[in-house]
């Protein structure tokens, strides 16, 4: 840790801000919130020309880099490298692990579905392709939509069934989280952890980045209302 503290300043490189958020990307925002929770000073920089990169977000300091696509993600890298660890003591708590799994799977699936498939795509165009020339942005968008459908197992035949499944799971997850959170500010022991950062990022993107029509048409809005207290 001493060696880490002697390093140069940290810089978090994310995708660009939009919708009033410091970064509108649902993968980058949890890292931003985590570093804020940890009160680690850092600069914020943006990469707006590599929307299909899996290394973004990343944290760099001198020649040290913690990338999104290595060792479980940036947050796990920072923990493993001894830079910042808010999950101290939670690793063996089953409920914490299951909450994290719930958010990282069902809620993340629902958000990805809404952003890329369920909505008209305007949000993701603003988040990922604002600085790319139209032909490139268009091709990458179509490629990513195809990738998301493959990832979620959506085909022409089962699209309705999968959509219902995704919304149902999200509803269950929101109910569980709402119950767990209650009136507290954080999910566990009244101190922030990576789970809180991931959940808060998810809620902020859902509230601010998704079109209003999606919120009113799906049951997510019922449970998002209860999470507004966060």
């Amino acid at each position: 840790m001493e060696q880490v503290n002697e390093r140069e300043d940290f810089t978090l490189v994310t995708r660009k801000p939009y919708f009033g958020l410091p970064t509108a990307c649902p993968i980058c925002l949890p890292v931003y919130i985590y570093l804020k929770f940890a009160r680690l000073p850092f600069h914020l920089a943006f990469n707006s020309t590599y929307p299909d990169s899996d290394i973004i977000p990343y944290v760099e300091s001198g020649t040290y880099v913690a990338c999104n696509n290595e060792n479980g993600g940036v947050i796990e890298c920072l923990k493993k490298d001894g830079i910042v660890d808010l999950d101290n003591g939670y690793q063996s708590v089953p409920e914490w692990i299951s909450m994290k799994a719930l958010i990282s799977s069902w809620l993340e699936e629902a958000l990805i579905y809404e952003l890329w498939v369920g909505s008209d795509g305007n949000s993701v165009r603003k988040i990922y392709y604002p600085d790319l020339a139209w032909p490139i942005g268009k091709v990458l968008f179509l490629q990513q939509v195809r990738t998301v459908k493959q990832q979620l197992g959506i085909t022409k035949e089962n699209s309705d069934r999968r959509e219902e499944e995704i919304y149902n799971r999200a509803s269950i997850a929101y109910r569980a989280l709402s119950t767990r959170l209650g009136e507290e500010s954080f999910l566990f022991e009244n101190r922030p952890s990576s789970v809180d950062a991931i959940l808060l990022a998810h809620v902020l993107v859902t509230l601010h980045a998704l079109p209003v029509s999606c919120l009113t048409n799906c049951t997510l809005s019922v449970y998002i209302g209860s999470l507004r207290s966060i």
Partner: protein, 530 residues
């Protein structure tokens, strides 16, 4: 512009009258009394092989008189009609587009010279196995006129394959290329090709294109090329570059060349070890640019110049698209060189200076950064003699081996960080580059070497690269730039071939920066003329 094998090169352009006529004239001068040598006396091609001698004896005095008149001065003669025969597939308009000069000729000499040029241009189309131009007498009622008969034999094998070295508009250096060509598919002299190429700058390319000698009445040929190109710079700058695009050769005459490039370019780093600057540049770019090249090369050889001079200026403007999000930059390169003969052992001194600058276009452009692939990099296994067209080569330094550099990413391992290789750096290139060289070439004493063209050379070179953008221009000063200039000297042997110039040199670095990749020792350089 691609100079595929088979197309007559500039050195084969007709500069004199038809060689048959020259031979006849020389015979006339050497032996006016000889009557037995009659086969070469025909101005017209004589199909009557059964009576060559009798017809020749009858025509000989006339032809002698004709050549006497040609030698003495212009012989008035106009072209009444031009008849084209043999083109079943090739459109008439393609051939007739070359006939203006001969139609407007007013003397025999002009007609013969124009016929030579037409012959060359038609052969250049690569559509014909043979082209014969015959001057026949005009109608009797119109004295002083002649009919020109152009007999072409269209190629029977439109499909061909070849391997060679080329330079195309979108390529940054020469390439070794294998290609399949289909000639004259639509009868417009169109040349279609598909090719695989490997460049000397570690690039690979798959492309397909078409060459149109006469597109919609334009004077110069047009080319269009679709390409997928990749360049691997992982070892030097921790990134790979892939480009998918279209290149249009808009205009190409003797000294001027204008090319439009439209490309989707992606920089990636599969190693995940790039430095901060390179990592920030990874991603996609849209390139829409015009590149104008003015080239004036009066050297007697591009591989071993011993006399002459050359000047090249290349201007490239990027950002020519309605979408403001494409890459906007201005890039300018100059290259000037001279070759001075000394008059013994074919000794010649070649010297030259190259410079280049690239800047982004936009408000506060000096605060912006230039795209990595557009920057200047010096070094590599190239010879400055061959690399005409901007600063790139510097003897003794490895590819991209000098200039601004940044440490690569260090991965925390089980061992302590002190064991990690701190010398691994990414070379980032610069916005400004200047290089100069002097090369003294000479024949070697042994006759065998001289016959093969193998010769020796002594050389010295210097160069430097600097960053100006991202406010670095505030730290730039000419004295500092000159003081930090790298330099090297050396000697070696040159093995020129028809396609390449191979050099085996001993280089000694005189001055370099601590992070530069250059060292004393034997270096092999392989380059093709640009």
């Amino acid at each position: 512009m691609a100079n595929a094998g088979g197309i007559p090169g500039p050195e084969q352009k007709p500069e004199a009258l038809n060689p048959n006529l020259d031979e006849i004239e020389e015979e006339e001068e050497e032996d006016d009394d000889v009557v037995e040598e009659e086969d070469d006396d025909d101005l017209e091609e004589d199909d009557d092989a059964a009576q060559p001698q009798r017809k020749s004896r009858v025509d000989r005095p006339k032809i002698e008189n004709l050549f006497r008149r040609i030698r003495n001065g212009p012989v008035p003669l106009r072209v009444h009609d031009v008849i084209v025969k043999g083109n079943t597939k090739t459109k008439d308009c393609l051939i007739e587009a070359e006939l203006d000069a001969i139609r407007n000729a007013t003397t025999m000499q002009e007609i013969i010279q124009a016929a030579n040029i037409i012959n060359y241009k038609l052969r250049e189309l690569e559509c014909f196995d043979s082209v014969e131009i015959t001057l026949d007498s005009g109608p009797p009622e119109l004295p002083g006129t002649s009919n020109v008969i152009i007999q072409v034999v269209e190629t029977k094998t439109p499909l061909s394959g070849q391997i060679g070295t080329y330079t195309k508009g979108e390529a940054k250096s020469s390439t070794v290329e294998g290609s399949l060509k289909y000639k004259n598919g639509f009868g417009y002299g169109d040349l279609w090709d598909a090719s695989l190429a490997y460049g000397f700058d570690r690039s690979a390319e798959v492309s397909a294109g078409v060459y149109l000698p006469r597109f919609k009445g334009l004077v110069t040929p047009m080319t269009a090329r679709v390409f997928l190109q990749s360049q691997d710079w992982l070892k030097f700058s921790s990134y790979k570059e892939q480009s998918l695009g279209l290149s249009l050769g808009l205009f190409s005459i003797r000294h001027h060349d204008l090319v439009y490039n439209l490309a989707w370019r992606t920089l990636t780093d599969p190693s995940h070890m790039s430095s901060n600057t390179v990592r920030r540049q990874l991603g996609h770019d849209f390139l829409s640019s015009l590149k104008y090249t003015f080239k004036f090369d009066k050297r007697n050889s591009p591989l071993r110049p011993t006399r002459g001079y050359a000047f090249v200026s290349t201007t490239q403007i990027g950002g020519l698209a309605p979408d403001s999000r494409c890459l906007r930059f201005l890039r300018q390169e100059f290259d000037l060189r001279f070759a001075v003969p000394f008059g013994f052992y074919r000794t010649a001194l070649n010297f030259g200076i190259s410079s280049g600058v690239v800047l982004p276009i936009g408000r506060d452009f000096l605060r912006m950064s230039t795209s990595l692939p557009e920057r200047f990099f010096l070094g590599g296994n190239l010879s400055p003699i061959c690399s005409l067209g901007g600063p790139s080569a510097l003897w003794g330094f490895k590819t991209r081996g000098l200039g601004p550099a940044e440490p690569r990413r260090q991965v925390r391992g089980d061992s302590s960080d002190e064991n990690a290789d701190a010398s691994e750096r990414d070379f980032l290139g610069g916005d400004l580059a200047v290089s100069a060289f002097a090369d003294l070439s000479f024949d070697l004493p042994l006759r065998w070497f001289r016959e093969k063209g193998i010769h020796g050379h002594l050389f010295a070179c210097a160069g430097n690269v600097a960053k100006l953008t991202e406010n670095e221009y505030r730290n730039f000063s000419l004295p500092k730039f000159l003081q930090s200039t790298r330099s090297s000297v050396g000697a070696g042997i040159v093995f020129p071939t028809n396609l390449f110039r191979l050099e085996v040199n001993y280089c000694r670095i005189l001055k370099k920066s601590s992070h530069d990749h250059g060292k004393n020792g034997i270096q092999i350089s392989l380059s093709a003329p640009l």
